[in-house]
């Protein structure tokens, strides 16, 4: 007399593998992992990497209207903002660690203590022309020198072909900087 072991059929094996793939070998552990992952994602995207949608053309062509980016709030934890960085600037005074819903997206061209001016579309930092490879369009802006305080930075968008009057730019304090654009 021979005994034949009859295992689960191919359809049943496939169903079992699919179940493992979807909910793991131990559904309880999977549930805990999913909850932890959701909590981590929520915390990261609420307080550290803020998702932003660019609105407007003031940062064109570097960032197109409606493009998506992230603002890294930890970027300046170990060093200060640098010239050329694109940053998010809050439109209300800082309120603890809470993240703003709306911010300006601009490039830093002036650092504390410097004097910034526009002459025939060129940016002068302490009287020296600033090389700006990101600025592509024609520009004819002129603006008198602005001297920055010990805690002030100068911000401007990359699209200088638009009229100066329609472009928000100028100086603000360090604590207005929310973080640096991720890319």
């Amino acid at each position: 007399m021979t005994e034949t072991h009859i295992g689960p059929g191919p359809a049943r094996r496939f169903g079992s593998r699919l179940r493992i793939l979807a909910i793991g070998r131990n559904p309880k552990t999977t549930l805990i992992r999913a909850a932890v992952l959701a909590a981590v994602c929520l915390a990261v995207f609420k307080w550290v990497l803020l998702p932003v949608r660019v609105q407007g053309i003031s940062m064109a062509p570097t960032y197109a209207d409606h493009s998506v980016n992230f603002v890294n709030r930890l970027a300046y934890r170990w060093h200060g903002p640098r010239r050329g960085d694109v940053v998010g600037i809050r439109t209300t005074p800082p309120d603890g660690w809470s993240a703003p819903h709306i911010m300006y997206f601009k490039r830093i061209i002036g650092l504390p203590g410097e004097s910034i001016s526009f002459v025939d579309g060129r940016v002068l930092v302490n009287g020296q022309t600033l090389e700006e490879p990101y600025e592509k369009g024609p520009c004819d802006w002129n603006a008198a020198p602005v001297t920055l305080g010990p805690d002030e930075y100068f911000f401007v968008g990359d699209n200088r072909s638009m009229p100066k009057e329609q472009h928000f730019f100028g100086k603000a304090e360090r604590n207005r900087i929310v973080g640096k654009a991720l890319w």
């Binding site: 819903h101 730019f169 100028g170 603000a172």
Partner: protein
């Protein structure tokens, strides 16, 4: 087991009690935030409103301000402008309803600082406005001063703030 259930029940009762207390006795900051939400709602309007609806909307908006309200508007590219008194606010609201089809106003970021006397407060806020037909939305930092008048928080002064100077 019964002990844990009782403890859980106690925690739930305490949490409900705390929630009820906060809901029934809102802090001045909460009241001011509610008031500002009301301003945003009253300032917004949809298309196709009749004259009476426009008038009522403008009146509703004006009710959030004190009679001696002062509004200072100074934005780049435009000449500075000042509105004084509730009447002028109402007229400006009516004019905006006549000149654009629809307007959606929100205050997404609000910071409220209440004075120690609990009678006056300053709210720093970001105004976000979408006008029908306009591709770009309006974003403007503002500062509002509020005072408790006859038990109600009314706006006594509004001014635009230049985020980038």
């Amino acid at each position: 087991m019964v002990k844990w259930l009782r403890l859980l029940l106690l925690v739930i009762v305490v949490a409900l009690g705390a929630w009820a207390w906060v809901a029934l006795h809102p802090s001045p900051e909460r009241l001011i935030r509610r008031q500002l939400e009301g301003v945003a709602r009253a300032a917004s309007f949809g298309p196709g409103q009749g004259y009476l609806a426009k008038l009522a909307g403008a009146q509703r908006l004006a009710d959030f301000f004190s009679t001696n309200i002062e509004v200072h508007i100074d934005v780049p590219g435009h000449q500075g402008h000042t509105l004084a008194g509730r009447e002028e606010i109402q007229q400006a609201a009516l004019a905006s309803r006549a000149s654009v089809q629809s307007l959606t106003v929100t205050f997404p970021d609000v910071t409220v600082i209440v004075d120690s006397d609990q009678e006056s407060a300053v709210a720093d806020l970001t105004l976000q406005a979408r006008v029908s037909g306009e591709q770009e939305m309006v974003v403007q930092e503002m500062k509002a001063t509020l005072r408790k008048i006859n038990g109600q928080w009314l706006i006594v002064k509004v001014e635009t703030v230049r985020t980038l100077r």
